[in-house]
Symmetry: C2
Subunit: 87 residues, 2 copies
């Protein structure tokens, strides 16, 4: 079973990486960008039947810093992994 | 308009960050994990009407290294951003 964990900075937390990406996009001539936030995506290959609670536990203990970050879990029973999705 | 870009390593590309996360999860007692891949998530706030092609162009020119990384674009007209999703 696959699961994806999306880790994003909480609103209000400064995001220098996002700011740098925004600035670089503008420098490349992409004018229509008003904000950029950078986050993390973690793809887990798990034993079948791993519960949402256990994945949330992994997030709280390791994957996310819940003081400044939110996390969202997406379980995928049969979906292809993103890394084989597009050129 | 919001868009999310998911950047993941191509299959076969070594992922030391994923390996480190996997090892740390095992160390914490999470035994059911068989593989971990780490990627990036970039949330963009864009002018309405920005085309998929333009976003793909941003990915190819800046956000992803297409030699070793895949990217996937998800456009969200009205969805809430992930950073305000969960505690």
């Amino acid at each position: 079973m696959k699961a994806r964990v999306f880790v994003t900075l909480k609103p209000g937390v400064l995001d220098p990486q996002g700011k740098a990406i925004h600035h670089a996009l503008e420098g490349l001539g992409f004018g229509g960008v008003t904000d950029v936030r950078a986050g993390k995506l973690i793809e887990l290959e798990l034993a079948d039947g791993t519960s949402d609670d256990e994945i949330a536990d992994m997030c709280r203990k390791l994957l996310a810093n819940t003081v400044i970050e939110n996390f969202k879990i997406e379980k995928l029973e049969n979906a292809p992994r993103l890394s084989s999705a597009q050129a």
